[in-house]
């Protein structure tokens, strides 16, 4: 401790407030090199033979990148080829300040042992700390600090006898910095220069980001866009009200149109419509921008035109023609929306984008356009020498910048994911595009797993209820390896029934705040794709230690009720426990046991008791107005070897499904009550708001077309009228109605009880609800477990758990992750449906009209649970005469046939692969026959050929 006395002390001052901080300089910071004999570093990071073949530096060397090189060329630094890099503290701090994502990536690189990246704490080193001089800007000072450190390294390494030829190389793209470095005897190169000098690694050059100097060279000198105002002017403008700040959302269908959402006070948001490239002014989807509103005379209605940016050349031409199409005369003035233009970018939200390369038509060209999979992202110009090998591949590209004289943003190639249409590749793409974290768990995360072999200890038994003797069993879908719930039911001596729901005790293994916890919190949920599962927690927990498999001892969190035979709860008890499940059953197996009167073992008796109670509970819930809605869910039968879908099947529900569900609901409700009672400010709950009445319009109209009435004034009324709405000889009608009703609903969300007053769960007709029963696959449940554990004094609390703002932020992330997981799931189903139809060729199927649109009908094929659109308009030929009546809604085609909702039709289904990046299921009408509109039964071959030509 007395060591601190030997430190030299300096102070530094801030700007407005005079902040004085101590700054200790040390003499025990090592250089981190293996060759060094002076430093007493026990495990040096930088290798003795730092060899990488380079024309410029034929000697072994360490690299020192400056801040801008790290910020812009992180893709290069991450390459496995680049090793032995010294990251200065000055650089790291600047990066941290300027870009959180890059900071995380460079930190990951530093932690990677293979990379041999060393952080040199130069700001606290006695010889490398410098003070800011008078009239020196902070940037200049930092540049100087980097040079001083580089010089120190140069001299320090040359002093050690064994490595006389080992040098350091400073990478900087700043010319004056480089000159000054050379003056003091430091070897310095521009990043491009250095990377290009590497022998035998041409592909690395592609990953170079373009710096602003290069960008000017590429595009013409003509300025295409208005300039962006500097941040200071933007802020002044926002303050004075001349500019508005909002998030930029590009349109999916029209590359010349975008909306800026401006958050006003409270929940109010204003939308500003932007039209035309000049007004969009280089903003990219999800950027935070400043906009200036146009006067009212220039307000317009959004154009309903579909425009795709499909020019083949990358000329920087102006698209006057396309923009003309946007202008359509508007008669209805209520449709007018405020319009404006982007004056500046407040924050770019660029991420690496998945997509495909359009090879330039000029054979030798190294510049190519890249089309992102997300239609809202503009095409990106990249430079690559391996274009021919990248064609047909899904690749990732990052944007480097968008200069004023360039029609497209400039970017660079990051990574090749694999061939388009390939199952692995497409899965990777949909995970990336839906922001699903799916990298393998890092070593740090894994280090917090329990050591194997693991078993229940005496300690555990001391603090837990020993329920190993109970006849507990689990019921799940077939093939389930992450079993997070198990049940039991037995008769008590007083004639009542004891029912227990036992949930995997994940919070026992995942302690608050450690890396494992943070990773799980960030992932938020396990994502189930067709034939693939992206776990929220490492497999050791999800499929082993936390999975309540049969005949092993497992830790559980139990919710135990005493009930009478009318399923009325007499008392509720929560306890941490140890259980030993007697059987892991599938729904079908459980159903079989219940039905088979010859079976009378404990498990079966337990199941019968549960089933009996569940039926009463369900009836009571429905009585209260809980909704049973329907959505066509499909499941694929996968080929066990190729993992190709071989058959589609809609989900089938058995009694046992709803049996398990019923008790999970009950447990969730009981727990919700308990944690809210205990922590009224910071209970994590789940609510499902009632939809606004207008949401039901479509459902009411649809029912009316069949002379039925759907009442929507309450959930109960809705549930009842849905039950009554049946048609004779149209069995599927009720299901269709329920599918429609599902579409009217709001999204259920997590929230923190201290931040909201409306807790109602509309769909379940429960005044309070939460998620407790799936902690292996939902992070919300882990938090709920922790709250409940504190409530029953089984565990201790920690600050973040009791902080309603932090918990609210967590809820936002969980809601986001759940939404994205759902989208990813749907995208995965869609992709597998495509694979399925690809193998099936063309099919003819019966379906029902689900929606009627102005120019199309949307059809549901019950057999596949598949939804598709039959368009009556065609790009190439004049469409048929259509008249749409929004009252019905009905659509009359060629004055011959009128389509109503719920009509039965016959369609052909095929895979439209004309756009390889956006393959889709194509439906065409077979019956009713409308000449010129419907297709004929023998499949029209020519059409398919024509599409190929179109490509």
């Amino acid at each position: 401790m007395l060591k601190s006395k030997t430190f030299v002390k300096k102070t530094r001052s801030g700007s407005v407030l005079k902040i004085v901080r101590e700054h200790y300089l040390r003499d025990d910071i090592w250089c981190g090199s293996e060759i060094c004999s002076e430093c007493k570093d026990e495990s040096p990071v930088l290798q003795r033979d730092a060899c990488i073949e380079s024309n410029l530096c034929p000697f072994p060397h360490y690299l020192i990148p400056d801040t801008n090189v790290v910020l812009h060329q992180i893709d290069i630094l991450e390459d496995p080829l680049i090793r032995n890099v010294i990251i200065l503290q000055t650089v790291l701090q600047e990066v941290r300040h300027r870009s959180a994502p890059v900071y995380k990536r460079i930190k990951d690189a530093i932690h990677d042992k293979e990379k041999h990246f060393y952080t040199f704490t130069n700001e606290h080193h006695r010889d490398t700390f410098i003070e800011r001089e008078q009239n020196e800007s902070a940037n200049d000072r930092n540049d100087r600090a980097i040079r001083v450190s580089a010089k120190w390294y140069t001299e320090h390494l040359s002093r050690s006898q064994s490595g006389a030829e080992l040098r350091v190389v400073l990478l900087t793209n700043d010319r004056s910095n480089r000159e000054k470095a050379e003056q003091i005897g430091v070897i310095a190169y521009r990043c491009e220069e250095y990377i290009k000098s590497l022998i035998g690694n041409p592909e690395l050059v592609d990953r170079l980001a373009l710096t602003s100097d290069d960008q000017n060279e590429i595009s013409g000198s003509k300025l295409l866009f208005p300039e962006h105002l500097p941040l200071s002017k933007i802020q002044a403008g926002i303050k004075s009200g001349t500019f508005l700040q909002g998030s930029f959302r590009a349109s999916t269908d029209n590359y010349l149109e975008a909306t800026v959402f401006i958050h006003g006070e409270g929940d109010k948001t204003t939308e500003v419509l932007l039209q035309g490239l000049q007004n969009l002014n280089r903003a990219v989807h999800q950027d935070v921008v400043a906009v200036e509103l146009f006067p009212k005379e220039r307000w317009v209605a959004p154009s309903s035109v579909v425009l795709q940016d499909d020019q083949q050349n990358d000329e920087d031409t102006e698209e006057e023609e396309a923009e003309k199409k946007l202008k359509s005369p508007v008669l209805d003035t209520t449709m007018l929306k405020p319009t404006g233009r982007v004056v500046g970018i407040i924050k770019r939200n660029w991420r690496p984008f998945c997509g495909m390369l359009n090879q330039s038509q000029i054979k030798e060209s190294t510049r190519h356009l890249f089309t992102p999979a997300d239609r809202r992202i503009p095409r990106i110009r990249i430079e690559t020498r391996q274009a021919s090998s990248l064609v047909g591949q899904r690749i990732i590209v990052a944007i480097d910048g968008w200069p004023r004289n360039s029609r497209y943003p400039n970017g660079h190639f990051v990574r090749n994911l694999g061939g388009a249409g390939d199952k692995e590749t497409e899965t990777e793409v949909l995970l990336l595009e839906h922001d699903v974290p799916h990298q393998p768990f890092s070593q740090t995360v894994l280090s917090f797993l329990p050591k194997m072999p693991w078993s229940v200890t005496e300690e555990d038994l001391k603090v837990r209820a020993d329920l190993r003797h109970l006849c507990v069993c689990s019921v799940d879908p077939p093939g389930c390896t992450d079993i997070d719930d198990a049940l039991h039911c037995r008769e008590l001596d007083n004639g009542n029934l004891e029912v227990g729901v036992h949930i995997a005790d994940v919070s026992h293994f995942i302690r608050p705040g450690n890396a494992l916890d943070q990773e799980a919190a960030s992932r938020g949920t396990t994502v189930y794709l067709c034939g693939k599962r992206i776990d929220m927690v490492p497999e050791l927990l999800s499929s082993n230690l936390c999975s309540l498999r049969s005949n092993v001892e497992r830790l559980a969190f139990s919710c135990i009720w005493e009930m009478n035979h009318n399923a009325e709860i007499i008392n509720t008890r929560f306890t941490k426990s140890v259980i030993n499940s007697k059987a892991s059953l599938t729904y079908a197996e459980a159903q079989m046991r219940i039905d088979d009167s010859s079976m009378n073992d404990d498990v079966t008796k337990s199941l019968r008791g549960l089933n009996m109670l569940a039926k009463i509970l369900k009836a009571r819930r429905i009585e209260k107005g809980a909704l049973t809605l329907s959505s066509p869910e499909v499941r694929f039968h996968m080929d066990s070897e190729t993992h190709d879908p071989i058959d589609l099947q809609t989900k089938e529900l058995k009694d046992t499904n709803s049996m398990v569900e019923e008790f999970m609901l009950l447990a969730n409700i009981s727990v919700a009550q308990k944690i809210y009672e205990e922590f009224s400010e910071c209970a994590l709950l789940r609510k499902h708001p009632a939809p606004p009445p207008s949401n039901y319009d479509i459902l009411i109209k649809a029912a009316k077309s069949k002379d039925l009435v759907i009442r929507t004034d309450s959930a109960k009324a809705l549930a009842d009228s849905l039950n009554e709405a049946t048609l004779e000889n149209f069995l599927y009608f009720n299901t269709l109605l329920r599918i429609l009703a599902t579409r009217c609903m709001m999204q259920a969300v997590y929230f923190c009880s201290g931040m909201d007053s409306d807790f109602h769960h509309y769909g379940l007709a429960s005044p309070i609800y939460t998620h407790f029963t799936s902690p292996i696959r939902r992070y919300s449940d882990i938090i709920v477990h922790r709250l409940l554990a504190v409530a029953i004094h089984a565990d201790s609390t920690y600050p973040d758990l009791m902080d309603k703002h932090k918990q609210s932020a967590l809820c936002n992330n969980l809601n986001y992750r759940h939404k994205m997981a759902q989208y990813a799931q749907r995208a995965s189903v869609a992709f597998h449906t495509q694979l399925f139809f690809k193998s099936k060729g063309i099919l003819n199927e019966e379906g029902f009209i689900l929606f009627v649109r102005k120019n199309a009908i949307i059809i549901l094929i019950p057999k596949f649970g598949l939804e598709g659109t039959v368009f009556f308009e065609n790009k190439d030929k004049p469409g048929p005469r259509l008249s749409f009546d929004s009252e019905g809604p009905t659509l009359t085609v060629e004055e011959q046939h009128t389509f109503h909702i719920f009509d039965k039709v016959k369609v052909t289904i095929s895979l439209d692969a004309s756009n390889i990046q956006h393959q889709k299921i194509r439906m065409a009408l077979l019956e009713p026959v409308i000449p010129g509109v419907s297709v004929q039964l023998p499949e029209p071959e020519p059409e398919a050929k024509k599409q190929k030509l179109d490509r």
Binding site: M1, L2, K3, S4, K5, F7, K9, T11, L17, K18, I19, V20, R21, E22, H23, Y24, L25, R26, Q89, L92, Q93, R96, H97, A100, Y103, K107, I110, H111, T119, T121, E123, H124, R511, P512, G513, N514, S796, T797, Y798, P799, M802
Partner: protein, 245 residues
């Protein structure tokens, strides 16, 4: 990515210290001639002045006096210029009264008050500059002042703070670290017996972490006690040299 990185991956804190290292300590005893005892203490940029009067007869109402021991009266204040933001600090605001009370409790535990029944010992401390650990600087300064005044104590009372960042306990927090959002634990220790005179924590902390945090604070206090001890010895040497002359 708001906020400061309190502990870098290399194990350095904002000001370049490692997790267990204390700030630079400087102290002087006997800074005022009029008082019975006085001391000036610097822990990094936190600077405190302590003055001790007594033991003397109980002033004011006699009812306050205790028949079996001395009354300890503490007053804590902060100089207007002590923080980056200058503001008037009236005497007796809630924070100062609380701090005064804490100091009183601390020294009641350390001073052998039973030696002076029916009398009073006044301890006045003022923070001249504040950069985290105000309480500990006050305690340490007051200890030195009590020693200077020749008032018998069980042991030095050494105080230090400790905080928690990413599973690592940090000793002797500076202001930036205190306001970094974590938990701060203030500990006043009688180092030789390892008796705790006062421990205070102002935010929640997971129970699992408490032993490690206490351990860090104890170590820091012991480190400080060595410094205080050397200050006292040096002072004595100086004084004895002076008196001999």
């Amino acid at each position: 990515m708001a906020g400061l990185e309190l502990l870098s991956d290399q194990g350095y804190r904002l000001d370049g210290r490692k997790a267990t290292e204390l700030r630079k300590v400087q102290a002087r005893m006997g800074v005022f001639a009029q008082a019975d005892g006085s001391a000036y203490m610097e822990q990094g940029n936190t600077k405190a002045l302590a003055v001790v009067y007594g033991p003397h007869e109980v002033r004011g109402s006699r009812s306050k006096s205790l028949h079996d021991r001395a009354v300890i009266n503490c007053q804590y204040s902060m100089a207007t210029f002590s923080t980056a933001e200058r503001k008037r600090r009236p005497h007796g605001d809630r924070k100062s009264s609380e701090m005064s009370l804490h100091l009183k409790q601390t020294f009641e535990a350390a001073v052998l008050t039973q030696l002076y029944p029916r009398s009073q010992i006044d301890i006045y401390v003022k923070i001249l500059q504040s950069d985290g650990g105000n309480y500990s600087a006050c305690v340490n300064a007051a200890t030195l002042a009590l020693v200077d005044a020749g008032i018998p104590m069980r042991d030095y009372v050494c105080a230090c703070t400790a905080g928690f960042v990413e599973d690592t306990p940090l000793a002797d927090l500076c202001h930036a670290e205190e306001s970094g959002g974590g938990t701060t634990l203030s500990l006043a220790l009688l180092p030789r017996s390892e008796n705790i005179a006062l421990v205070q924590m102002d935010a929640r902390l997971h129970q699992d972490h408490l032993p490690a945090l206490m351990e860090a604070a104890m170590e820091a206090c012991k480190g400080l006690s060595k410094v205080l001890d050397s200050v006292v010895r040096q002072h004595l040497q100086e004084v004895s040299v002076q008196t001999r002359e």
